[in-house]
Symmetry: C4
Subunit: 257 residues, 4 copies
């Protein structure tokens, strides 16, 4: 493993496969959503992606064994539909500018070899307040975008950047005559955000016309909201204290001068 | 797209073409000037430049479609003159040192294939005060520089650096027996500066002996000046407040000690 | 020397060699442990590793001579046992992400050419308090890990990262059908930590079934503990002073307002 | 110019040439010394070194012409002695780690093609106080070092790093069976230091057995010392003011509490 490369575990014949991509990013939206799908669909591993552009550490697995950072490709045979799925997620995005392009290109190489015609990338979109996180869509063509909007996504405001692999795949796909759609869940971004992931999955499942029970995410959402509430209380307390100190200081200045 | 590369949309026969280059930089002078020329001359796209050294995000276009960061080459057929034009602008400069050299070299490759003998690069030059921004010129030979001075540019003070693509193209052009001229508009640099862009265009048009109506920039200039005035007021207010706090503090120290 | 490369000083025939790797890292644990072994075993140099990814300075040796930063491979003929040893240590880790992968791969190339089937990497593991530093193990297979645990290592908590060459070698070894074990000594990490190195060596020697007198490290350990004690006193004094200043400030605020 | 490369202006036959290298670094010692030698010896340009690892700007020459950053090789025919000289200086060191190694290797390539058997590199060595700056030497062999010590250089303390091209050339020269000596003038390093450069030149000229009048540096030294004196006064004034403010603050705290 000296260059970004794919290690195939098995050769699988897939029927008109669509690829779903979700690497760690804002609010971990892409990774949470993709992992949940993999688990619920009981999708199975069939290839790894390794790269010297990932961070230079290894992770300890259960039982003290160790592995390189990597991306993993899973497949799912869709018994009732037209399209099988390839699902891709991983430990990290590339750490260098050129690595970002290189990894996106290697993902697309693999997609091409598996006759993928459409890739859906998933990520987060930073916004401050949010009740029910919206899902923003961008695509390599307008038919695809219209399908996403019918699945209740909104179009992205013009000029917005889409950072990292989720974006670059859309930029690079047309060079290979492939289509790609990007779904971004609104998130504050600094904590894992399963609520945004759920919103994205609702749109994605409608778009793909697949049924997956999303209630399994509700526990994670409740935990994440507790965490946010606790952090907000701490923040408010700090703000109050700062305010009181400021007032004391004001008095001091007024009395003396 | 794995290396910096050109994607040609059409093969165009051009007559003694001169290339104008203006990427984003100080005050966006190069980009504003080049874009304005493209619009006024109704120049037409004929090639894109892509690079893994651009920042690793994509941009959402109108209608939710998406594209890689890129540079774009436009051409203009000069019905009345000797020289057709190739105009080059783009979304970004390279993000790595080697990328800066690589992109400049690929621009020069393309220029060479199109029989360009002269390139004019446009950028900004940081100065504090400015009423009517001056235009500073540097060139690969003295005849070219003299022509620029006749078009009312000033020579650059010796030893000044010219940073980025606008500069590197001048440094690299002689290796290919090409000439290059750089025109830099004076700008404070931290805000888009259409006034500096207009000054550069006045010199450039005289230099090229082309007529283009520049009054279309006046609106943008007025808006930019309003913005600057508003920012200055805020700045002055802040300075006043800081001064008053300082005086209060002075009194306090004097009274107590 | 334009790429990471090995310069062999001698061709040595080794019997079922195991490689021990210990580069500088947290608490210098890997380097201190490996160097101590080399000295006690009177192991002998037989190859250098050079790389443009090491920092760009040279070191002055005794007598004013100079050398590039490098890694050094030593060998030890085990007269009583089944496995000879190759020991590797050096001046620095790679300074770039890609360099980290490249250097780990070149070490593995060299190991492979010498028929190494097992590599043990040594490093530090950051923890705050520690009396007798524990030794954490991770491995490419469970048999190896069990052997380490019998030698009184503990398994690493799941999900821990192992940063740098000590980790990457474990990640990369399976691609070459090689086994690797990593032993990490607990250390606060900001000072050279011979105590952690000694703990690691105790486990390593048991694991390898080799006898080496470790008492030679006791002097270094005493010196290091003196240093830590002195630094702690300075730190406490500073904390006390800061506390007193804070109290004075508190009084001031209370009296005035 | 897409890789680090040499552009030869003329093919010169040189007699047992010794190369002197002095790029910008601490106190600009290497560059000041080498440039002074070039001027006094009336050495003549015969090659340029270009590199995409230099910073990505160009410099405006007199008359508004422009050039890439580069290094320049000069030669000097020694009518009275055994060794001609090649002198190398330039605008900048490499900006990347790999670039540092690459440029040093390209300099050595050029030296080898010109039958250079010995290179002397010049730089600065950071120390705080200095009256008459000492000159520290390091070398690839002890005979060379002894010759430098006879020319009144001192040996470098063991373990000191020599950063950048001046050091890497010494590290890389033995790979090509070349000898190299490094002379470092003591300097505080943050301002151009012609005094340190003069000290180095005194040693170098004795070492080379060449006569060059060094009095031409005295003016520059006087100017530099004036500058340092002025900066010190400003610094002292600032320290005094800070002390007074501190005392006022102390009084305030004491009176109130």
């Amino acid at each position: 493993m000296k260059e970004t490369s794919i290690k195939e575990l098995a050769k699988i014949e897939l029927k008109n496969p669509i690829m779903i991509e979700g690497l760690p990013g804002l609010g971990l939206v892409g990774k949470i959503a993709t992992r949940y799908l993999i688990k619920q669909l009981k999708a199975r591993k069939f290839a790894y992606l390794y790269s010297p552009h990932f961070p230079y550490f290894v992770l300890v697995n259960k039982k003290g064994s160790v592995r390189l950072l990597r991306g993993t490709f899973y497949f799912w045979k869709n018994e009732k539909g037209e399209n099988d799925l390839i699902l891709f997620t991983g430990d990290s995005q590339a750490q260098t500018i050129e690595g970002q392009y290189e990894i996106s290109n290697v993902i697309l190489d693999f997609a091409q070899r598996n006759n993928v015609k459409l890739i859906v990338t998933i990520g987060g979109y930073r916004v401050e307040a949010k009740d029910k996180p919206k899902v923003i869509a961008a695509a390599t063509n307008s038919i695809l975008l219209d399908r996403a909007i019918k699945a209740e996504a909104l179009t992205s405001p013009m000029g917005s950047p889409i950072v990292g692999t989720a974006g670059l795949i859309l930029g690079l796909a047309p060079f290979r005559k492939m289509d790609a759609l990007c779904l971004l869940g609104e998130t504050r971004g600094y904590l894992p955000d399963p609520k945004a992931a759920k919103s994205v999955l609702e749109v994605l499942l409608k778009f793909l016309n697949i049924n997956v029970d999303l209630s399994g995410l509700n526990d994670e959402i409740a935990k994440a909201e507790n965490m946010v509430a606790r952090l907000q209380k701490i923040e408010e307390k700090r703000a109050l204290q700062a305010e009181e100190i400021r007032k004391e200081e004001d008095k001091k200045i007024t009395y003396i001068s």
